[in-house]
């Protein structure tokens, strides 16, 4: 991995780590991922993009909830997830990195059923070390710090990876969560997906600093900036941070510079605020095509393979979506489920009122 200056329209010049260039060629002297591992990464990235396309279509037909796609950010999503160990490490998501949670062991049908408004079927299975998606921006960060701190106190061999966006970096919870992690030397990696947008707000509005990664210095730990569209670089940088945390080296902040190649969510219309040229430019840095070009150059990828994988992955996703659709629909009584272990009597009465009994 080497550091090089990258200029993109939506951001100032910054030093980013990169392994694989947008044209599919390795950076001089950079160490590529093992081929098997890279193929696996590609598979997950393609799965993520195909899933996005599929569920956006379903949402448009009223068959899926409000959804924030990860399109354009697949290298960040997959590269970061591959750097942690589902057997012992914990993942603390925001909401856009859905496929990272799936990689970490959350079945696709489970998270899909959440978007279909299911309750029971959307419960994270026992043993899967993933926390629920977080919609209150940055609220997950102090929690993730506490989790990592607690795991350290308990003497566990675990690391926490917590996701946050460029927008989320402005919240007080971001500062408080990272500061406390520095103080407690918690084994945690803060993975900041800088996709240049927080709904319609450009990352330039969020901060006057040149790079989010620089902020880590203020908390007393390391920050690295990585080309977030380069799965090899994302993996290497995140893995280094995870290894360091596991060895007792404390927290890190990884800033993955990427681009949201889609709307904020299915209710959003970016044409009101986004220059289409920015999108066109981002397309030239597509994280999936980059890997495919590289693999093609070493004889491991071609159109036929692309077709076969696409077909397979579509089927795999559709199977999960079918399971999610067939899973038990929500029941009115679920309004009262999982609020207290022992609900107060007043709530028990409200519950029976809803069920049609006397109030």
């Amino acid at each position: 991995m080497s550091a090089r200056a990258v200029v993109s329209k939506n951001r100032p010049v910054a030093m980013q780590r990169q392994v694989l260039q947008p044209d599919g060629k390795l950076v001089d002297g950079a160490q590529p991922m093992e081929e098997e591992f890279l193929l696996e990464a590609l598979r997950w990235m393609m799965k993520s993009r195909l899933y996005d396309h599929r569920v956006i279509g379903l949402q448009r037909q009223g068959q899926f909830g409000v959804y924030s796609p990860g399109m354009g950010q697949e290298a960040s999503i997959v590269g970061s997830a591959m750097a942690v160990d589902p057997a012992r490490d914990w993942m603390v998501p925001q909401y856009r990195e859905l496929m990272a949670s799936v990689h970490h062991g959350l079945p696709l049908e489970v998270i899909s059923s959440q978007y279909l408004g299911k309750i029971g079927p959307a419960r994270i299975p026992e043993g899967v070390k993933v926390l629920p998606t977080q919609v209150a921006i940055a609220a997950q960060l102090p929690q993730a710090t506490g989790l990592a701190w607690g795991l350290k106190l308990r003497g566990e061999d675990s690391v926490v990876i917590a996701y946050i966006g460029d927008g989320g970096s402005s919240e007080g919870d971001f500062h408080e969560g990272l500061n406390l992690a520095g103080v407690t030397k918690a084994p945690i990696v803060f993975f900041l997906s800088n996709n240049q947008w927080a709904i319609s707000t450009s990352r330039r509005v969020q901060t006057a600093t040149r790079s989010f990664a620089l902020r880590a210095a203020g908390y007393g730990f390391d920050g690295v900036e990585v080309d977030g569209n380069d799965v090899m670089a994302v993996y290497a940088a995140t893995r280094a941070a995870v290894d360091k945390a596991r060895k007792g080296g404390g927290p890190s902040l990884v800033e993955a510079t990427t681009y949201r190649m889609s709307f904020h969510n299915t209710t959003d219309n970016p044409s009101r605020y986004q220059d289409p040229k920015d999108y066109e430019e981002a397309k030239t840095r597509d994280p999936i095509e980059r890997v495919q070009k590289y693999l093609a150059s070493i004889g491991l990828w071609d159109g036929k393979k692309d077709e076969a994988w696409t077909e397979e992955l579509r089927e795999e996703n559709d199977r999960a979506l079918k399971l999610a659709a067939e899973a038990q629909p929500p029941n009115p009584d679920d309004v009262f489920a999982n609020v207290y272990q022992d609900p107060p009597l007043r709530i028990v009465r409200q519950r029976s009122e809803l069920a049609g009994g006397q109030r």
């Binding site: 209150a136 927008g167 402005s170 509005v205 929500p330 309004v335």
Partner: protein, 325 residues
């Protein structure tokens, strides 16, 4: 007279006030080019520029805290919190700070700040977006709480809020944003705070509500009329100040009252209404005051919101119970 929905009425109020007073500015998440996630600030940045219509970093506490400071400097900020549920991230700047600033400074400083925030269920929003937390702010004295239910009031109350020397929390019913148009004049006008509005006359029972629950009560009144029950609907319009006089006079006339709100039942503002009636007109009541609210659980997944929110059926049932006693 021009017809406007609530989104357009709010936009019109902001436009008029920004035109009339150079000190008025709008700040919040995505209020600029996007025009706000519901488009209430649409076109403002084009008219008034990016110094007066400001996309802020994603940090609610700083939006409110900075508004306090801007007001001290002589600006008149209208802050938008993208959804009322995310006032939680700014609560310490609202209740303990904005609400107390006049008192803390022994009257030396005041905060002419308006905070606008959409809220309410019924539009299948993601988590936290629908929470009706208005009563939490009633426990933060020093702040006025405005809850319009229709386009005419939305414009007049917002202008009143912007001109008020004290901080105002202005809660907008997102379910009704585009649900219908009404006559809303061009040009500035105000609707005074602390004046409830009798939106429907009726003899047997008074339904008391604010914001989107007024619309529900109007539907309930229609349904009840079919059963021979004549229900009045009183729209409080502002919770602070509360129009105790109109509330008591109106309920004394019908002798029966049901309060309806979207917030959870326990310690919702319905409890305040009910207690006030007990204290003021106990001997004019023919039946206990009833409350219909959401259940005492957190707002559920969007797929379940219809079961959680007060429904037409639950309002009608509550009215029938008061009629029996």
């Amino acid at each position: 007279m021009p017809q406007r929905n609530i989104v357009e009425a709010i936009n019109s109020a902001l436009t008029d006030e920004m035109q009339a007073d150079q000190r008025v500015m709008v700040l919040g998440l995505d209020v600029g080019k996007l025009g706000g996630v519901f488009r209430t600030t649409s076109g403002l940045i084009e008219k008034f520029g990016s110094e007066r219509v400001v996309d802020t970093p994603l940090a609610e506490a700083s939006i409110v805290g900075a508004s306090l400071g801007l007001a001290l400097a002589g600006m008149v900020p209208v802050a938008e919190i993208q959804f009322l549920g995310f006032t939680a991230q700014a609560f310490h700047q609202i209740g303990p700070q904005l609400g107390k600033y006049r008192q803390r400074s022994r009257g030396r400083y005041h905060c002419q700040v308006t905070i606008r925030a959409p809220f309410g269920g019924g539009i299948r929003s993601p988590e936290f977006h629908s929470d009706a937390v208005e009563a939490q702010f009633v426990q933060a004295p020093g702040i006025k709480i405005v809850m319009p239910s229709n386009p005419y009031d939305a414009k007049g109350l917002l202008i009143e809020a912007i001109r008020d020397p004290d901080p105002v929390l202005f809660c907008e019913p997102d379910r009704l944003y585009r649900s219908g148009k009404a006559e809303v004049p061009d040009g500035a006008y105000t609707v005074p705070f602390g004046k409830a509005s009798l939106v429907r006359e009726g003899d047997n029972v008074t339904l008391v509500a604010w914001s989107a629950a007024v619309e529900l009560c109007l539907r309930a009144a229609d349904a009840l009329a079919a059963d021979g029950i004549s229900a009045a609907v009183l729209d409080l319009r502002t919770l602070v100040p509360l129009d105790v006089e109109t509330l008591c006079t109106q309920v004394a006339k019908t002798g029966r009252c049901v309060v309806v709100h979207e917030a959870p039942l326990s310690a919702g503002f319905g409890a305040e209404v009910s207690a006030t009636l007990m204290e003021e007109i106990f001997y004019d009541l023919d039946a206990p005051v009833m409350r219909v609210g959401a259940f005492d659980v957190p707002f559920p997944a969007a797929s379940l919101e219809d079961h959680y929110l007060p429904s037409l059926d639950r309002v009608v049932k509550a009215v029938k119970r008061t009629m029996e006693s």
